[in-house]
């Protein structure tokens, strides 16, 4: 092969690469980066959608950090939601995955049944159903009544409303369960056999072999689910009717952002809130990756 032919061969793919990427490049610059920068600009302005934006410097950020009690409420609600729903959801997912991995018969059927809620959970239909399951005269209280318990009106009591949303999230443990299951199946079987020959109990095997070997999968699930929970919107929107009530008890950060933007037309303020959400997500991810080497074990 001559030198020129080599150069041509090397150059052609490099141009073709950009052609293949063209749709994505258009989308990235036109629909993601451009709008994101535009909203970064808006976050330093007051903009009511109808007039023109006018520059206010750091005013929006200062207000968010110091003077807005609803920001404090919504951060509290969101963190509480993350702190409860992520561990519970992943706990269930791992527990069921471990049981399913015992080689019992009917695995595909169980797996399908447990996965189904994950698939349906994002729809308006399920959110409306949820309202009725946890209403004062709803399904859950009917069931509790059999045991002689008079349940409260779960969705409309500020002490319990958030738990109904946590339950909705935990109910959808199917997809992390599938990821755990796939991870479990890749664990080398001979390790377990060697361990049982050495007399390790199943419990010891779980904590000494399964969990450490599974840490990359756990790590992945924790990061993905945490980011997802920080961004959660639709369940709170439908279950609370968009209000975040009662008394801000389901006022997720994204719901507050939406209210500020579209309820009260404060686009600049909402843009600042959105950018702080980005920073929070970046921070979570950064912390996860920095601490990764402390507890995540890779073979190679």
């Amino acid at each position: 092969m001559s030198v020129t032919a080599q150069i041509i061969r090397r150059r052609r793919p490099s141009l073709a690469g950009y052609v293949f990427l063209l749709p994505w490049l258009l989308g990235f610059f036109g629909l993601t980066l451009g709008p994101a920068l535009a909203s970064l600009y808006l976050s330093f302005t007051n903009y009511d959608l109808i007039g023109t934006p006018h520059w206010v410097g750091l005013e929006n950020y200062v207000r968010i950090m110091t003077a807005d009690s609803k920001v404090a409420d919504s951060v509290h609600v969101t963190l509480l939601y993350v702190a409860m729903s992520v561990p519970l959801k992943l706990g269930f997912a791992l527990a069921i995955a471990v049981v399913l991995n015992k080689g019992i018969s009917g695995l595909p059927i169980y797996r399908a049944l447990f996965y189904l809620p994950s698939l349906l959970g994002a729809s308006v239909a399920i959110a409306t159903l949820w309202r009725k399951v946890f209403a004062g005269d709803g399904l859950l209280n009917h069931v509790l009544l059999v045991f002689g318990i008079h349940g409260p009106s779960w969705v409309s009591d500020p002490n319990t409303a958030l738990y109904t949303l946590v339950a909705l999230s935990v109910w959808q443990f199917g997809s992390p369960m599938i990821i755990f299951l796939a991870g479990l199946r890749q664990l080398p079987q001979d390790l377990f056999e060697a361990a049982s020959i050495d007399g390790a109990t199943p419990r010891q095997q779980f904590w000494r072999i399964t969990v450490p070997m599974l840490t990359p999968v756990i790590f992945f699930n924790v990061v993905v689910q945490t980011i997802d929970a920080l961004k959660a919107f639709t369940p709170a929107f439908i279950v609370s009717g968009g209000s975040g009530g009662p008394i801000n008890s389901t006022l997720f950060y994204t719901l507050y952002l939406y209210q500020e933007a579209f309820g009260y037309l404060r686009m600049g303020y909402a843009a600042a809130l959105a950018w702080l959400l980005v920073l929070a997500i970046v921070a979570v991810t950064a912390v996860a990756f920095v601490t990764e080497r402390l507890w995540v074990h890779y073979d190679d």
């Binding site: 073709a16 629909l31 709008p35 005269d137 639709t234």
Partner: protein
């Protein structure tokens, strides 16, 4: 396998009992909703039974025609938007995934990192500027703002899914093709895509389901009732009459879940594999 033979049957039975009970608890709300759609309204909140005392199918016709535009139109709209989104995602995401997984060019790794970064950006950040952009293009109140972005690979998740799959295909295939004088386009069309049908099908099914369930996009961009998707129709129904006619509300809710349910029944294996493969490696 040795392990299974060794396990005493009582323990296996115990597992089955636990799993059955757990799946019953999980699915009960869904079954109850379905049963409620077949009960007269007065009966819905009287019992938690899954078997209607009085069978009543009228909720379906009440719900279907409960708004000024019938749910048939909403289903057609949702179907059209979903199918277009599937087409768009398959084309644009497979192109992008092919570029970052099988080709060499300067900036490739940067592009891939940017794709992964867009996975984390909450859509609220781009919402308003995007709206203003589509408005100036005079696209608002058509399906274009919901569909055209899919042709620009904005769903980075699917690029990621396909990249993972493409990377797993043996390199020797490309090299052999290059020897035969194939350019990147022919490799993409003739070799990579045909080998990737399972991954493409997975991407297609997930795109369909995500688009079908999308509530926020249609809420912002579609204002004409004739253009409503099923999710908007359901919400609209909840607003006007659904609160006092839960039978009809649940009947329509059941119908909106059916397409997703059907995909699940037919393509369960692909869906589960899709999650397992993208989930394993980050």
């Amino acid at each position: 396998m040795i392990e299974r033979a060794r396990r005493p049957w009582p323990r296996s039975l115990a597992y089955h009992i636990v799993l059955c009970a757990a799946s019953l608890v999980m699915l009960y709300p869904l079954l109850w909703m379905f049963a409620s759609s077949l009960k007269p309204n007065a009966e819905i909140f009287e019992t938690f039974s899954l078997f209607p005392e009085h069978w009543d199918f009228s909720a379906y016709s009440r719900g279907w025609n409960g708004l000024q535009v019938s749910f048939g139109q909403f289903f057609w709209n949702s179907l059209l938007i979903s199918m277009l989104s599937v087409t768009g995602n398959l084309i644009s995401c497979s192109l992008a995934a092919y570029a970052v997984s099988r080709m060499r060019f300067p900036g490739r790794n940067i592009c891939f990192s940017l794709m992964l970064m867009t996975l984390m950006i909450p859509y609220q950040v781009t919402l308003v500027p995007q709206y203003i952009l589509f408005l100036n293009l005079d696209w608002v109140n058509s399906f274009l703002p919901l569909v055209v972005p899919k042709f620009m690979a904005v769903d980075a998740f699917f690029i990621f899914l396909l990249t993972q799959f493409f990377r797993g295909l043996p390199r020797e295939l490309d090299e052999a093709a290059v020897m035969d004088g194939c350019g990147p386009w022919r490799i993409y069309w003739k070799i990579i895509l045909p080998l990737s049908v399972p991954a493409l099908a997975t991407a297609a099914i997930f795109t369909f389901i995500f688009t079908w369930d999308d509530f926020f996009g249609p809420l912002i961009y579609l204002s004409d009732v004739e253009n409503f998707t099923v999710q908007l129709g359901l919400r609209g129904f909840l607003d006007s009459g659904g609160q006092s006619d839960w039978g009809a509300m649940f009947a329509m809710a059941v119908l909106t879940l059916l397409p997703v349910l059907a995909l699940f029944v037919f393509f369960q294996r692909l869906l589960i594999q899709g999650i397992a493969t993208t989930g394993m490696k980050r």
